[in-house]
């Protein structure tokens, strides 16, 4: 459970929103996305100073002891601004995984740096199919902890100091820590359609690694569910922002002697999108609450959020371009940046079809 109260959460969120509007507006985003690293170190430091990189980390290791509910809230703001960088991979995925371990040495070694933001970590999960399923793990570890194989679509690995690798060990999964610059590890940058995001394929060829104790396949699933809810928050926040931009535009753009928002075709599209935006927000928040509470409803709600938020964001971003007309077909307009993010987000941690299947399975079990 979280150690952060509701009011405090609102204050943190507000502070983060202010930071983003100051330091991560459209111009800043475009500047960062054109850099090779795609990472704004100064902004990252400010995020760390606010404690946001330590949200999920125990105060004993320098974190603030929050929960996924707090993470979901700030990810809505991050999504709205299309924040680029390692927040999801380091402060959510890596932090959650290590915190879940029984490895006191690893915790002491890694968590304080991740909490402050001085250490950037990421997690290499899926294999080349990009399914994020247990079957699609492309790295295996031998008894001595030597890694072989490849992990694909690794987030922000290009700026990571620490790489956590999910590897097969016989029938089980285990988690290993490596230095991405070490021998036997090569990073291949993947150009993404969303240039605010940096993806890599990481190849391991007899790479020595340190096992993190007490993490298995179930722990990996728990970490992925947290990541899915964080991503759902990002999707909910991003869809709301591009929706607001769009509604503001149709309110003011005049054609045929009146604001185009006065045409029923536009109103109906806007109303339909509002259902998507609100549903995404509700789904992401409910999933976060259920996960944080360890509720039996969590599997249903997490899967629901995973596909509902992905689909909502995609639909809102795609329709927003149509509602803007020609102006949104330009590079300078931000609408396409939201569509690009929506299309990448829709694939991360499993696509909607996979989550729909998990949703039905969870419903079946609950029934």
């Amino acid at each position: 459970m979280t150690m952060i109260g509701m009011e405090e959460r609102a204050a943190i969120r507000e502070g983060f929103a202010r930071l983003l509007s100051d330091k991560a507006d459209d111009a800043a985003l475009r500047r960062i996305m054109a850099t090779e690293s795609g990472h704004d170190a100064e902004l990252w430091k400010a995020i760390g100073d606010m404690g946001l990189t330590g949200l999920l980390i125990d105060p004993a290791y320098g974190g603030v002891g929050g929960s996924i509910v707090d993470v979901e809230a700030i990810m809505e703001e991050a999504g709205a601004a299309l924040l680029a960088g390692p927040l999801l991979s380091s402060a959510v995925m890596a932090a959650a995984l290590i915190s879940d371990s029984t490895d006191a040495a690893a915790k002491a070694r890694l968590l304080p740096g991740i909490a402050s933001g001085e250490t950037i970590a990421t997690v290499a999960v899926t294999g080349d199919k990009g399914l994020w399923t247990r079957d699609d793990i492309g790295v295996s570890a031998d008894r001595n902890g030597v890694l072989q194989g490849a992990a694909n679509y690794v987030l922000a690995a290009n700026v990571a100091d620490v790489l956590l690798v999910i590897a097969k060990t016989g029938d089980e999964l285990a988690v290993y820590e490596v230095d991405p610059k070490a021998n036997g590890i090569s990073l291949q940058a993947l150009k993404s359609w969303d240039s605010t995001i940096r993806l890599s394929r990481v190849v391991f060829d007899a790479a020595p690694a340190t096992r993190i104790a007490g993490l298995d396949g179930a722990a990996v699933e728990r970490m992925l569910d947290l990541a899915r809810v964080a991503l759902a928050g990002e999707q909910a926040g991003a869809s709301r922002r591009i929706f607001d931009i769009t509604v503001e535009y149709v309110r003011t753009r005049v054609q045929f002697g009146r604001p185009i928002g006065g045409f029923q075709a536009m109103k109906h599209m806007a109303a339909d999108l509002l259902i998507e935006v609100e549903s995404a927000t509700s789904a992401a928040r409910a999933a976060a609450q259920a996960l944080a509470a360890g509720s039996t409803e969590a599997p249903v709600l997490v899967s629901l959020a995973a596909f509902a938020c992905a689909d909502a964001f995609h639909q809102v971003a795609a329709t927003s371009i149509q509602m803007h007309g020609g102006i949104a077909f330009t590079w300078e307009h931000s609408a396409h940046l939201y569509l690009r993010r929506a299309r990448v987000d829709a694939q991360l941690f499993g696509a909607s079809d996979y989550h729909r299947e998990r949703y039905v399975s969870a419903l079946e079990k609950a029934a």
């Binding site: 005049v254 075709a265 299309r343």
Partner: protein
Amino acid sequence: MSRTDIKTEVEAFLTTHWDSEARRPREGTSRDFAQKVFEAGWAVASWPREWFGRGLDKDDSKIVAAAFRKARAPGAGQDRTNIAAASLMNFASDESFKREILPQLLTGRLAICLLYSEPGAGSDLASIRTRAERNGDVYVINGQKVWTSGARTADYGLLLARTDWDVPKHQGISFFVLPMRQPGIDIRPINQITGDSHFNEVFLDNATVPAKNRIGAEGEGWKVLQTALAVERLVMGEGAGERRQGSSKNNVVSLIDIAREAGQLQDPLIRQKIAQATAYRQLNALNIARAKEELAQGSSSPIMSLGKLAMSRILHTDAAVMTQILGAASMLDGPEHERAADINYRTANAYMTSIGGGTDQIQRNIISERVLGLPREVELDRDVPFRTSRAVTG
């Protein structure tokens, strides 16, 4: 000439001049071939002989088009598809100008752009504010156009400009063929969401156009535009907006091929999606074929108005299904990930068909109002002098 004679003649022409296997002229350049097609009258077979055609009726023209299609040879059927040529031919204009420019248009020697849209006049195109003022033998043009595809390479622009501000908006517009290579025209590229920059802003600062380049009477530009738009939408309805990155050629790819390549062809979910997307495409093709049939028999076909809207759905659906087939790889871009790059390009470029040439919403209004005869949307400034409308007064 009987129908079989036409068929024999056009087939003989194609056999002599066109290698349908290699899809290229038997001898000479493609420009030489275009010239031969033009001289034989096949470019615009339904037009009178004295106007570069063969005076064929619709059925016979269809035979010509079908033979060219079968041989996969270009250049025929421009009476239907060449926006500039059809507009010039359909509306009275200066005969010497027509004689001078039509042969160049029909042999593809002139590139054309469409100077219609303005920052304040997109869907509501009749609210254009670019002005054309008569000064002796020329009109002087001032204003700004936007989203002009191909402006940088165009020889001429089909220009919509206002010649009368004291009549309602549709009545004060004239249509011109504006020479693009002149000092009063400043063209600035606009970057598109696809990463291309085919379209442009065009600033007109005392540009001039000879009065003989006006198509239709002064104030009749809106009527001329309707023909031009109908041709454009027809062409888009047949998939002219379907592009591969970096290619100007229409390019259909098979969803089945993509699924096979990705090892997804046996996935029942994917199969359903492929079926739906392919059905949209095939149904549109069947509609168009039936409409052409009906047109050939002399009845007008409302189906023709559906094609562009249908094509918009086809292109958006195709891109979505391709994305689903590709899965996580659809996140990627660039030459190393050619399939993903193509699918992402198609995703973005589909908006060219759903926004360009009249948005889907406008197409739906047109279909319901003009085809179905449903009551018109209220348009507050339709009947007031343009000068007093909101487009001018703000």
